[in-house]
């Protein structure tokens, strides 16, 4: 047995172990600090969001006779609601049990889509995109706070990926006793293979890669549908493809079944 060689090896490994233990302790301390920063930030954002909602609600009450001002106050109020909804989603991501403490509220589907449309009015206007609600719906669901995200991200996506001066239609239909909501828009072409992966986190089709975005919208939408127990799918209408500014476009549909 060559003890010198073995002892040298033990010494080396002990040194490495000590280094790893030190790094581990540093990483744990760093994780604790990050967690504390996250706690404090979320706490404060929620506090400010509650304050924002309070002031906007008051403003929208006080300006009920002044249409434009009232509309802006309502948009800010709804946007504050989106902050809450997004944080509600974060809660579930960080702790799946957080969903148990979210209170479902009986809400009309049509109203939720209309609300998201109002929040996105400016964005649509800047792009010359018209967002139209087609048909009616009196369907109500027990909506979790996180549900607000669904109409928002889908309409936002439709506007974002649409060429200028196009129309986004949100169609409300009843089919076999189920409420269907179809969001019809023009978007970058999606192949059959890509369509299978379109709800994956960070996934972007080849035609959309040159456009801004992170591939999060539809992933979020799918997750919210899972929390709510509703189904969502994406479809592409064949034969309606065209090329504009080097990007191949198609008619893109998101179908939500309640």
């Amino acid at each position: 047995m060559r003890y010198d060689k073995q002892n040298k090896k033990i010494l080396e490994l002990s040194g490495k172990l000590a280094l790893l233990e030190r790094q581990n302790a540093e990483l744990k301390a760093e994780a604790e600090t990050t967690k504390e920063i996250l706690n404090n930030t979320l706490h404060e954002i929620r506090r400010f969001s509650a304050q924002l909602s309070k002031f906007c609600e008051k403003l929208s009450r006080d300006t009920s006779g002044q249409t434009n001002l009232n509309q802006t106050a309502l948009s800010v109020f709804y946007t504050a609601g989106m902050i809450s909804s997004r944080l509600a989603y974060t809660d579930i991501e960080l702790n799946p049990r957080a969903i148990e403490s979210q209170t479902p509220i009986r809400s009309g589907i049509f109203k939720k889509f209309d609300k998201a449309k109002r929040i996105l009015t400016e964005e649509a206007k800047n792009k010359g995109v018209n967002v139209n609600l087609v048909g009616e719906s009196r369907t109500e669901i027990e909506a979790l706070p996180v549900f607000e995200l669904l109409p928002f991200v889908i309409i936002e996506n439709a506007i974002k990926y649409s060429p200028p001066n196009q129309v986004v239609e949100i169609i409300f239909e009843n089919y076999s006793g189920k409420q269907l909501v179809t969001i019809k828009s023009q978007g970058p072409d999606v192949t059959k293979d890509e369509l299978q992966r379109i709800f994956e986190k960070g996934f972007r089709g080849a035609s959309a890669r040159t456009m801004p975005g992170e591939g999060l919208g539809l992933f979020l939408a799918k997750r919210v549908c899972e929390f709510q127990g509703i189904s969502i799918c994406a479809e592409v209408r064949d034969g309606r493809n065209y090329t504009l500014n080097g990007i191949r476009y198609c008619e893109f549909l998101i179908i939500i079944k309640f």
Binding site: S49, A50, R97, A98, I105
Partner: protein, 224 residues
Amino acid sequence: MFIQIGTPERLSSIGQEKIDLKEAKAKIEIAVLDDNAFAPKESLVNHNFRIRELGPDIRSTEIIAPYPIIICDVRGVGKAFGSPLEGAHLVSEIRKDYPDKYIISYTGETYSLPITNALASADKRLAKDDSLDVWIKTLETGLNEISNPRNRWIRLRAALLLRGVELHNVFNLEQALIKSVREKKPDILEKKAMSSSISAEAKDLVVKFSATALAALIGSALGI
């Protein structure tokens, strides 16, 4: 062996009256424990709820005795109790002393697992920025729950059983409660508790319940 003569009264024979929510809103004051101004207060007052902000500096749970519904923030509340869980610890202390109260905790750290666990004794956990609809629904549920003597007794009954009170003693106390409600005399239950061979802690819970919850419910039924 024991023999009990007579037919026991059914608990379902009380608390069947429909709650008048408008009246409950007007009569019942809701306590808020928070180190900041309670943001939804104005909107809730506009919806006819009675909100009383008691601040964060609670030194004893007795201060909340008159309030059947408690809204409790987590951060910066109940520091006098010396727990790092602050308001979450206070919630469990309130639950220990007043098992029949409807407790709503609210926090900005709704995802936190330690806080979620510590708040297990709250009836409802809300986020600081939950919508007005959520607040209204939660408070209306709370008003319905605490306006019913049967529901409140069921909460207290579970706490008594958890503390090891014999089933037979609980049964006798339940019969006294039914008689108290029927005859509109809270002291019937109180006297029964005092004469029962139950622990001092359990006795204290029932006496507090008679003096606060039951007295208020009976007073309300009498229009006092």
